[in-house]
Point group: C2
Chain length 577, copies 2
């Protein structure tokens, strides 16, 4: 039996060999090529080339064809160990290879040769080129030599490679599906949100249709939180920097804070977290042990600096709205509270159809506040909750926040990809720094424990996740437009509008396509907009007092009464389908 | 008949004379007093004194008594015109008066004398001290000589004066009432919000009970806006400064902007207004004349710099959430749209029981963007809407925003005081600066018109207004806690909790006072917390399966079934009572 680690090693070797095969193919086509580096990467490989002309996507099939000839020849990969001097002569006209060679400390270096191609390489490789059976070149990108923007720009050709054609097919299908589902693309097509260079990268503007989805999620979120004894609060977006010095954010998290601005001689920053505002509210009164836990919830928009290079649509942004809450409790309440948060998180994941998820317990990072004793205590509480509930989890070493350990949940979407979801953090540190306390049964003052938690993560990332999870085909209850009414001709407009008025009474989100366009065009556009129901009204419907229903899939549900349809849509929405 | 203007002039004269009478009284008590200035102000007067000791509130009745003796003597006010030289001699030991005297350009100056007191004064005054019949000294404050913090601090004594005792009584009653209703005081007592020096002045933290009220208002607001064809959007709180330079805010409004902060070589500011985000969303698509108006609504939190000295509770803050919307429309739609906003504003005022309000049309300010022609056009549209609807309004000259004129509505609360409420601004300028356009019927590109509007103003100021309007006695539908259930003894706790569970099913906001305290104390605390309904359960209720209801006014509604009570509360809430 091949172990998982062996299998991964075998695949990496195969992909590395594929890079060499691609290099050989490119050399056949462009004898003057100068080679950079060509490693295996996740799912495939790349090689950097210095070429006399820019490659275009049209070149990729030509290179692939050349590669297939090389694999058909089943050339052996031959390792040679030679003196550095000999290698120097061999790579004399390969300027990048020569540079790499000079940096090797050894006197002997290893070469790998297949057919006419030879490379400076540590290996290992597969036995012969014929072992590469399933590969595809995917795209071309520019890459500075050694990642240094002062050095020449090379052309990097990417490919993917798998053991079998079936695996490659499966991969390419998922890739195409993922591209189709890309939330940045669908976000534009479905008019959900935009990000504007003139306003600043990573700052999200929610369009009406995206805002409808967000608002529905917020309503559900608030209802569930109120049911579970949370209280909503609102706190400001700026605060004096001194507060963030007391908290430790300035010491431990400075690179993610926005630079301070001066107001009347005081430095202020835009908040990176909601916790301090909640602490200030807690501290406005003496709190009794009888009244704990207090659970403050806020859809709090926070701002954190991220380099513009790492920003990615809604998934990695600079401003985001956390579905945040802070639970102030006694030490003896931690486990119950964390357990209830887990239960709420599971409820939410279920509503949105996430069937699979992974749990991670993140432990003390390199830079941390508080004592090791406190950290151990907090980590132990989290571990205990997970184990009591017999939940399977992985340890994520050093990935805790500076003020405490956490449980992270990663959601698996319909394509099996992971998304950062809920997080639960136990914190003994901030209560100490801000003297967040309560009066215990015996009249003594005790430090409270804070639990920081989100059950969706952030509204921005959660929308990205939902868009890709559903591929833009939101369930009816979340669809920005639930029904498009399509009158066949202008004479059916009044009937269409009357139907719309009736459906709107039930808060069904309706659009009447009143343009003087052909019915088929209107249907196609409603489908592109992924509207769940199309209601067609023409002469026949007018005469029989019915409406005809079509789904976005193209399925024809035939005609029915408006009342019947209304009940059908209402039931679907009420069941969050 | 005395005209309004004459009456006001007469009152001002009386109050000015009252200031002189107070000065005479203080001189009798403190012969070494040095006088600053003593003008009439709204409702009364003050005088600034340099005294050998600090006054305390206990001094005020003593000064009042002295003043009453002076009015009883009915001393005539005598004007004397004298040469400056003579005045100099007269005020030789009055350092502040001497300073004022030197600044007068004339050779002759006028004095007013009553009894032993003489003042450098332009007048006019009433004929004699006996005319002052109704006055009261109210408080003492520090005031730098000439408002300059480098000059000596004088003691300013404030008083109020009216024509008749009845008017004075009425004023003092309203003042006491206003103090009782002060939203800062009630906000603390009812646990609605807090502002923290450590976080920064003018930055509001909404506590759970305040947030309940805000959330209810937001829900109502959203529902009414959706009904009226508005679409909700969300935009970020920071944006590049360059955007605010394009808009003109940087030129015209800089003193209210927060200082910029640098991110990757770009300056960003925290937004003072929501309009630019909405413009960016509008501009993501070509818009057709057929699809206008577009109405984007956002509960948008904005930040504006105000000197810490002018901040006042929730009424004047640095961060506030505008119930904002921007209507993008064609020029031919302005009047309909402004009219509908007025209608919505009236709807809202009605819900919250504001029966009276004043309308103001604010015109071009000194610093403005755009051409006078555009300003005239916009002002004319607003005027037309007001006049078509036969609404009574006043002109507020120069009080428009830099980008356009506006209609302001001032609400009158139950004490007859004015609160800044809804605002509607017509804007031809920002569309020009950002090229906000639409494709007209003939295929040409036309500039859209923007209408900026709020129908509550800001959530912070509106809560301040509501707290004082209702005196903290919120109607049932807005009360953070609607029902307090009071078990008489611990053995009634289960029955109390079962009743709470039943009422919570209807989303009635319940609190069970489960403390082991006496019933009377629990009732008193619920009354202090202004909870509309108290439900008392004891042996009798348990036996008969009923509950006993008491109102916060103390009125006893007797016993009824839980079902009956539930229906009663539900109906009250549904009718927004």
């Amino acid at each position: 039996m091949v172990s998982r680690a062996n299998e991964e090693h075998r695949l990496e070797t195969l992909r590395h060999s594929a890079a060499h095969i691609m290099a050989q193919a490119v050399q056949c086509l462009f004898p003057e090529v100068k080679f950079g580096i060509g490693p295996a990467i996740e799912d495939g490989f790349y090689y950097d080339f210095d070429l006399p002309r820019a490659l275009t996507p049209d070149d990729l099939p030509v290179i692939e064809k050349e590669m297939k000839e090389i694999t058909a020849q089943n050339l052996p990969f031959i390792r040679e160990d030679v003196a550095k001097e000999e290698a120097r002569r061999l790579f004399a006209d390969q300027v990048y290879k020569s540079e790499l060679l000079e940096e090797l400390p050894d006197k002997q270096v290893s070469l790998y040769r297949q057919g006419s191609f030879v490379d400076l390489c540590r290996g290992p490789h597969v036995d012969s080129t014929g072992e590469l059976k399933a590969f595809k070149l995917t795209h071309i990108a520019g890459a500075y030599w050694r990642g240094d923007e002062k050095r020449p720009m090379l052309q990097r050709v990417y490919g993917v490679a798998f053991e079998t054609e079936a695996e490659l097919e499966d991969y390419l299908f998922r890739l195409a599906e993922a591209n189709k589902r890309d939330h940045r693309k669908l976000g534009r097509e479905l008019d959900l949100f935009s990000i504007h260079e003139v306003a600043g990268p990573g700052l999200v503007h929610w369009h009406p249709k995206g805002a409808v989805i967000r608002h529905l999620i917020e309503d559900l979120w608030e209802e569930e939180h109120q049911k579970r004894g949370y209280e909503i609060v609102y706190t400001p977006h700026i605060a004096k920097l001194s507060l963030w010095k007391t908290s430790g954010h300035w010491d431990f998290y400075r690179e993610n804070l926005y630079p301070p601005t001066d107001i009347e001689g005081q430095e202020y920053i835009i908040k990176p977290m909601n916790c301090l505002g909640h602490i200030l509210i807690y501290k406005t009164q003496l709190r009794s042990y009888r009244r704990l836990p207090l659970r403050y919830a806020e859809m709090g928009t926070v701002y954190r600096y991220e380099r513009s290079g790492v920003l990615h649509g809604l998934a990695r942004v600079r401003g985001f709205t956390q579905d945040d809450a802070h639970i102030f409790c006694r030490p003896d309440q931690i486990e119950d509270e964390v357990g209830e948060v887990l239960e709420l998180a599971q409820f939410m994941m279920n509503v949105f159809g996430f069937k699979e998820y992974q749990l991670f317990l993140s432990t003390r990072p390199e830079k941390y506040a508080g004592t090791i004793e406190i950290w151990d205590k907090a980590t132990e509480s989290l571990r205990k909750v997970l184990e009591t509930r017999q939940l399977i989890y992985k340890i994520d070493p050093g990935e805790g926040v500076f003020y405490g350990p956490k449980i992270d949940i990663k959601l698996k979407d319909t394509l099996g990809r992971s998304w950062q979801g809920p997080t639960i953090q136990v914190d003994f540190n901030l209560p100490q720094r801000f003297n967040v306390s309560y009066i215990d049964r015996d009249g003594s003052e005790q430090l409270a424990v804070m639990i920081h938690r989100t059950v969706l993560g952030s509204m921005e990332r959660f929308l990205a996740c939902l868009v890709e999870h559903y591929g833009g085909n939101f369930p009816v209850w979340l669809s920005p437009i639930q029904v498009t009414i399509i009158p066949i001709a202008d004479r059916h407009l009044d009937y269409a509008r009357a139907a719309a008025t009736e459906l709107k009474k039930e808060h069904i989100r309706i659009e009447v396509d009143d343009r003087s366009e052909r019915m088929n065009l209107k249907i196609r556009e409603a489908q592109l907009n992924k509207v769940p129901f199309m209601v067609i009204v023409g002469d026949r419907e007018l005469k029989t007092g019915t409406i005809s229903i079509r789904l976005k899939s193209g399925e024809d549900l035939g005609s029915m009464s408006l009342l019947e349809f209304k009940e059908k849509v209402k039931t679907t929405i009420d069941n969050k389908l």
